[in-house]
């Protein structure tokens, strides 16, 4: 090994590491990169900071001076003046506290508040097999929170200890089922529509039971004629259900009501209001509009000229007119279009119109999904020898619906927001109907902002949760790895 020679000007010892310049590390670097990277960026930051400061300095005192307990607007103002001096303004959240039940339930009978609450709680249990089937953790968190909510809410709503205990037992049993098997609560999903309608409107238990029996009958007819082709089996199923609902159900329910009467207090539709009304219309519209929308989308892409023309006409008509005019049709014109003497429930009419409205939009979203699917998928399904419905069910729709999820959910969000428009046909929606009637009272005259902010926050929470859920669903269903 030769001796290692080095020239005098070559450094032999390593210099210690120097700290980076102050401007290139920590908070200063972050500020430079994200807020002050150039003249334009600096200007934008300063402008943004000014806007933020302006908004906060205007709004903060108002929120800080909030009053939570008072009996009227006047008392609120007195408290604020006493505490913060002459001329101070502040929020009077006491109005929400005082009229909480009004905002939530409208004029629903006070002693029956537990029924819509239970219906809302069970909604998540019934939806769990569909919405949260993949992740046990999310399922247990959602259902656990709901159970806790119901157990805390029931005594507050004046339900006895025994009933609360029984309900807790039932809920815990369902929690165990949901924990062990993702699809374990599917039976609840099946009976939930009838159960929810019964809980909300009350009346004889036989009406929802027999109405649901129509679906069982349709299923029976479908399986009985299964070997004879799709048209015959679907046709006989529809015919059996319609015959049951229109001809057999009335007499049968009368007989049952006479000999086996069981009914809970009926609640008329005009008692509905607030978020109970918004959620009733919203959830019913969401559940009903998705299947109708998918069928409409398939009809619009059909090879059959007439079917396609009818679907196009329907979709374009619905999408071309404002929802308000359809609600007017529901409230004013349906009396003309239906046989004389028919007078069915205004909430049901509104639900039908909202459903048709959302279905037309969903049809367009799903049509986009169907069009985005590569042609090869259709051809592959054909080459496997699948018939039309099998090809749609097994190959086309699962992929097309997956692509359409963001659009479908934003349609749902739009529809939930549009439930506030029912105020214009005389229903008490939480946004305008309830706030107007609260403000019409002597004590709360002049409270403008608080009800709007409160209702807006609740809508924001629901819609934001829905949009986040759609993002989660998109990630969960993503099968390709780009």
């Amino acid at each position: 090994m030769s001796e290692h020679r080095t020239a005098a000007y070559v450094r032999t010892d390593m210099l210690p590491e120097k700290a980076p310049p102050v401007s290139e590390m920590g908070a200063i670097r972050w500020l430079r990169e994200n807020l002050f990277s150039g003249p334009l960026n600096t200007f934008l930051t300063l402008a943004g900071a000014f806007v933020l400061y302006f908004l906060l300095s205007e709004a903060f005192p108002w929120f800080r001076n909030s009053v939570w307990v008072a009996a009227s607007v006047g008392e609120c103002r007195d408290i604020i003046t006493a505490r913060w001096g002459e001329g101070a303004t502040g929020a009077c959240w006491a109005i929400i506290r005082d009229r909480w039940n009004m905002f939530m339930f409208g004029f629903y009978p006070r002693e029956l508040y537990w029924r819509p609450t239970l219906a809302l709680g069970l909604l998540l249990f019934a939806a769990a097999p569909v919405l949260f089937s993949e992740s046990r953790r999310i399922r247990m968190i959602v259902l656990g929170v709901m159970t806790l909510f119901l157990v805390l809410a029931f005594p507050a709503l004046g339900v006895g200890g025994l009933a609360t205990g029984l309900m807790l037992l039932a809920l815990v049993a369902m929690l165990v089922v949901a924990w062990s098997r993702p699809w374990g609560l599917l039976w609840l999903t099946g009976i939930y529509p009838g159960l929810a309608v019964w809980l909300l409107w009350g009346g004889s238990v036989w009406v929802p039971v027999l109405a649901m029996a129509g679906f069982v009958l349709a299923w029976a007819a479908f399986t009985a004629t299964r070997g004879r082709g799709a048209i015959i089996s679907v046709g006989s199923a529809v015919a059996a259900a319609l015959a049951w609902w229109f001809f057999a159900m009335g007499p049968v329910s009368q007989v049952l009501d006479t000999y086996l009467p069981y009914a809970i207090d009926a609640v008329r539709s005009d008692k509905f209001g607030g978020f109970v009304l918004a959620l009733t219309i919203g959830v019913a519209g969401i559940v009903l509009s998705l299947p109708i929308g998918v069928v409409l989308a398939l009809a619009r892409r059909s090879d059959m000229l007439l079917v396609k023309a009818l679907a196009v006409g329907f979709i374009e008509f619905i999408r071309g007119v404002p929802l308000i005019s359809l609600l007017f049709v529901a409230s004013l014109l349906l009396n003309y279009f239906l046989p004389p003497g028919t007078n069915f429930d205004i909430i049901l009419r509104v639900i039908i119109m909202v459903t048709l409205f959302a279905a037309a939009y969903i049809a367009e979203v799903v049509r986009g999904g169907l069009a985005a699917l590569p042609r090869g998928q259709y051809e592959a399904a054909d080459s496997l020898g699948l018939d039309y419905w099998k090809a749609q069910r097994l190959v086309v729709l699962p992929q097309a619906l997956k692509i359409s999820i963001p659009g479908i959910v934003s349609t749902f969000i739009g529809m939930f927001k549009d439930t506030t428009l029912v105020v214009f046909v005389g229903l008490l929606d939480p946004l305008k109907g309830i706030t107007d009637s609260v403000r019409a009272s002597f004590e709360w005259k002049g409270a403008y902002w608080e009800p709007y902010i409160f209702v807006g926050c609740i809508f924001f929470i629901f819609n934001f949760a829905m949009s986040r859920y759609s993002m989660y669903l998109e990630r969960r269903l993503k099968r390709d790895h780009h």
């Binding site: 960026n41 090879d303 059959m304 007439l306 374009e316 005019s325 014109l333």
Partner: protein
């Protein structure tokens, strides 16, 4: 050798209508048609029976009779002696006005916010995200009501604008926001050309002259640009055109305004009210602002998605070709982003137009307020008024989407 033999001839059986794919679709369509016609006939029959039972008939004669109500904001001559048809027209023009102005402001807001949301500036992009999420997730009715309440509850009385009063006018003393109306300057002409009577209503010749001048300038600019492109194709050098473009786009309009003697009539407080300008009702202002801000949040998302849809490789390719950032934006990114942006933008414009029927919340008399509101209540003809109103909205929607589709066809990918 095998001899191909014809399939044995079968006589036609009824079950073939269902099981034979040659006939099945016809069968289904015939059944659907019969069902559809049966339902339609049932509805029409019910309607006739119900009308007869109420002693009503189905005719639009009510459109010709005296309306008897006043409309605060009208773009054409109207008074309470005018007919219901004219009230409907006034309402329709009000709908069109708020929809048109709303679409413009919503597009400006949307492009602005959408671009800023993509900015690298942490603070600004967060602020814009908050704006978009708040406006998209809350019903538009709430925004209309809140903005209306801001105008009617928080704005000062006209009285407060007196010398030494608590309120002051904004924008260099030209605009006064009061709790009853917003007073804005009135465009006036010293040498007005008068109005043209086209039978139904009057059209301002001044407006037509200005529009004609601007359109002519725009068209001339297109010719200049085309000539420049031709020169560039022939010689490889593009003549400098920016000053010609600037002159052609600005000068015709400005010169016409000058020739007509354009000036503004500023509002000023006389007694208890502002005069000299135009007093725009707060119901209109609230509806306009709320619809613009609400739809603007949706358009911002569309713009953002459109810009993000253009892959980064496109920008890099343009830089590799030596294009400057401005030309990269104009020639490479924007044409591709527009292709993604235009179709959803059309449906946002349609949504805004349809949402303008929420004027019902502020009392602004649009088509729904006149035809579907006061006229309906006065004449009691629900069937005719609601159907006519829906028909007009439908035609409006089809016209807007038709016009925008033509534009879309001009920007979309030309496939060969």
């Amino acid at each position: 050798m095998a001899i191909a033999s014809d399939a044995p001839k079968q006589s036609f059986r009824l079950s073939q209508l269902l099981y034979d794919t040659r006939y099945r679709s016809t069968t289904i369509q015939v059944v659907v048609l019969m069902l559809f016609m049966a339902v339609a006939a049932w509805l029409v029959d019910n309607t006739i029976t119900n009308l007869a039972a109420r002693g009503k008939d189905f005719n639009f004669g009510f459109l010709g009779i005296r309306a008897g109500y006043d409309i605060g904001q009208r773009l054409i001559a109207y008074d309470s002696d005018s007919t219901h048809a004219r009230a409907m027209l006034v309402g329709l023009l009000n709908t069109l006005l708020v929809a048109f102005l709303g679409c413009i402001v919503a597009t400006v807001v949307g492009v602005f916010v959408g671009v800023l949301r993509l900015s690298k500036n942490w603070l600004v992009s967060r602020l814009m995200t908050v704006y978009v999420e708040i406006f998209r997730n809350v019903p538009v009715l709430l925004w209309i009501l809140i903005i209306y309440a801001v105008f009617t509850e928080a704005a000062p009385l006209p009285n407060a604008f007196r010398e030494g009063g608590a309120a002051s006018m904004i924008l260099f003393d030209t605009v006064a926001v009061t709790n009853r109306y917003t007073a804005v300057p009135d465009p006036l002409f010293y040498r007005s050309l008068g109005n043209i009577d086209i039978g139904i209503f009057l059209i301002s010749s001044d407006l037509l002259a200005i529009i004609a001048a601007v359109v002519a300038g725009w068209y001339a600019n297109r010719l200049v640009l085309r000539r420049a492109t031709a020169v560039q194709n022939a010689t490889g050098l593009r003549p400098v055109t920016w000053w010609k473009t600037l002159a052609l786009l600005i000068l015709p309009g400005v010169l016409t305004l000058w020739a007509l003697g354009f000036h503004l009539g500023y509002p000023s407080l006389r007694g208890f009210n502002f005069t000299g300008g135009i007093n725009v009702s707060n119901s209109f202002m609230a509806l306009w602002l709320a619809l613009s801000l609400y739809t603007g949040a949706f358009i911002a998302e569309i713009v953002r998605a459109g810009v993000l849809a253009v892959s980064h490789g496109q920008t890099e390719a343009a830089y590799a070709l030596g294009l400057r950032p401005g030309r990269t934006m104009n020639l490479v990114i924007l044409p591709q982003a527009l292709r993604v942006i235009i179709p959803p933008l059309i449906s946002q414009f349609l949504n805004l137009t349809k949402n303008s029927s929420l004027a019902i919340a502020t009392g602004y008399l649009d088509l729904r307020g006149t035809l579907g509101g006061i006229t309906l209540n006065q004449t009691g003809r629900e069937l005719e008024t609601v159907l006519l109103m829906m028909l007009i909205y439908l035609v409006l929607s089809l016209l807007i989407s038709g016009a925008m589709n033509i534009y879309n066809a001009s920007v979309k990918l030309k496939e060969r």
